[in-house]
Amino acid sequence: MTETAAVTAATRATVPQDAFRAALLDASHPIPSGLRDAQDRPAGRRYAVYRNNVAVSLREALATGFPAVAKLLGEENFNHVAGLYLRQNPPDSPVMMFYGASFPGFLETLPALSGLGYLGDVARLELAMREAYHAADAPALDPARLQGLEESALMAARFALAPATRIVTSPWPALSVWRYTLRPDQPKPAARAEDILVTRPEFDPEPHLLPDGGARFVLALQSGASFGTAIDAAGDGFDLPQMLGLLLKTGAITDLST
């Protein structure tokens, strides 16, 4: 650097990270004047590279994490909604696999999306699937351990559920919409409430439609209630054999203590 340039540089405003950061997610914010090109002109489009990198990478992370929401909204609408979200809610951790935890709730605050009432719950299902994907491994319970148990002992037993186990309850057909959106040859969703269980038998999370009372049953077990208390919580008409079969078959139960 020449002597003159050095003097100019020394007298020009510095660019604290606050200032660099402030203009990144806000295109109306002026680019700090201490950012220059090689001819000592204002950085202009050169700064815009960083703006673009940040916005596009966060938007792509949301599109990857919420594929059904992205498809339901279409690319243009999704990019707009994701852009609004990421500016108000940049990640709070470098571990991007968990980015977007507040996206489902955010979708429900947007008046333009109020006609898509199911969208927030579809997003909750996608978030649950992603959490399940990264959850700790846990070997499934050997069903033989349930055999030979006295009924009273079984009713008092507490079940440990796999860390990947998630419940999503929805007044909308959230699972049917998710399947219809992402998977081939699925029936058109019927208007109904759906409660969903997410399990991860090995590495691939899978959603299952729960029978009446199933969500209450699983949530009770998850909170540490005894088997008997969880059955009571499920209510009348609860199909226990179906529910227990599903949990055992998908490796959702990992242990029991009597």
């Binding site: 990640p91 951790s93 470098p94 990264h134």
Partner: protein
């Protein structure tokens, strides 16, 4: 100062992408080592960690962090550093590297490698951060030169002197990204070879290569973007040859992070890297 073993072999490696898992495990001699991005393996379990365990039995692994924000104005995120230590302790990688850049400010992670001015104040801060990382991990780290799109008026250190002084103060090694050199030199109007001439090559523990995109600035001047989304450009291969003539064979990584191709395309890039390493190992000048 720190235990330097195990270290990466002076062979071609590739940035690991899950879609290449089967190809890597099935190929008897695909590459000499793999790089993983640390932050993608900070979940509690599932397929990512299972694949990493399987890969680590087969390949030397380089853990490459993209989220420590070593160039940040704020103290390092201790929770993140602890997560990193858990990962490093778990797989005992052949190398750990991070960037001369920042990505977190005011508790917000911006998911990009952002630039910093090179001054006495930033030098002292970055050196403190590197020292903390090395103390926490109990190993030497490598610090990577960035891709630059702009300059800070306040900078009064050259990037090469800045890196050299960081290595001297902290004992860290350097990761020389030759594509970043080419991108920065083009964007900031200097000769890439001059950068290599000024670089403290003795400290180089690893070399990176990746593809870049071409754009223009407001004045119609070339503006190269470090996209890692295509094959390595020919002038970058030429700059690699010049670099290897000075350094000798070094662990050499092909990075391809966006628009990731099928394995054969990436393997072809790795073979080209292998040819460059073979040439210098045989003592043939470029």
């Amino acid at each position: 100062m720190y235990d330097l073993s195990p270290s990466l072999p002076p062979l071609p490696g590739v940035g690991y992408k899950p879609q290449h898992f089967a190809a890597l495990m099935d190929d008897p001699a695909p590459v000499g080592w793999l790089e993983i991005h640390a932050e993608n393996y900070m979940g509690d379990g599932g397929r990512p960690l299972a694949q990493l365990n399987a890969l680590a039995e087969r390949f030397p692994i380089s853990v490459h962090g993209v989220g420590l924000s070593i160039g940040g104005a704020e103290p390092l995120d201790r929770d993140h550093l602890a997560r990193l230590k858990t990962l490093v302790d778990r797989i005992n990688p052949a190398s750990f590297s991070e960037h001369l850049a920042w990505s977190t400010h005011d508790s917000h992670f911006l998911n990009d490698l952002l630039p910093l001015p090179y001054t006495a104040a930033t030098l002292a801060r970055v050196a403190d951060h590197i020292a903390l990382v090395q103390d926490t991990l109990g190993r030497q780290m490598l610090l990577e030169n960035p891709s630059s799109y702009l300059a800070f008026a306040e900078s009064d250190w050259s990037e090469t002197d800045f890196l050299k002084e960081l290595a001297r103060r902290t004992g860290c090694g350097l990761l020389l990204d030759v594509n970043n050199v080419f991108v920065s030199a083009t964007n900031l109007g200097y000769a890439p070879q001059g950068y290599i001439d000024a670089f403290p090559l003795d400290a180089v523990g690893e070399i990176h290569l990746g593809g870049h995109d071409e754009d223009e600035d407001d004045h119609g001047l070339p503006l190269l973007i470090d996209s890692h989304g295509r094959a390595v450009a020919d002038p970058v291969w030429a700059l690699l040859d010049i670099t290897l003539d000075r350094t000798g064979a070094r662990p050499l990584l092909i990075e391809w992070d966006t628009d990731v191709p099928d394995w054969p395309v990436l393997a072809e890039e790795a073979r080209r890297a292998e040819a460059a390493l073979s040439r210098v190992s045989a003592g043939v000048k470029a």
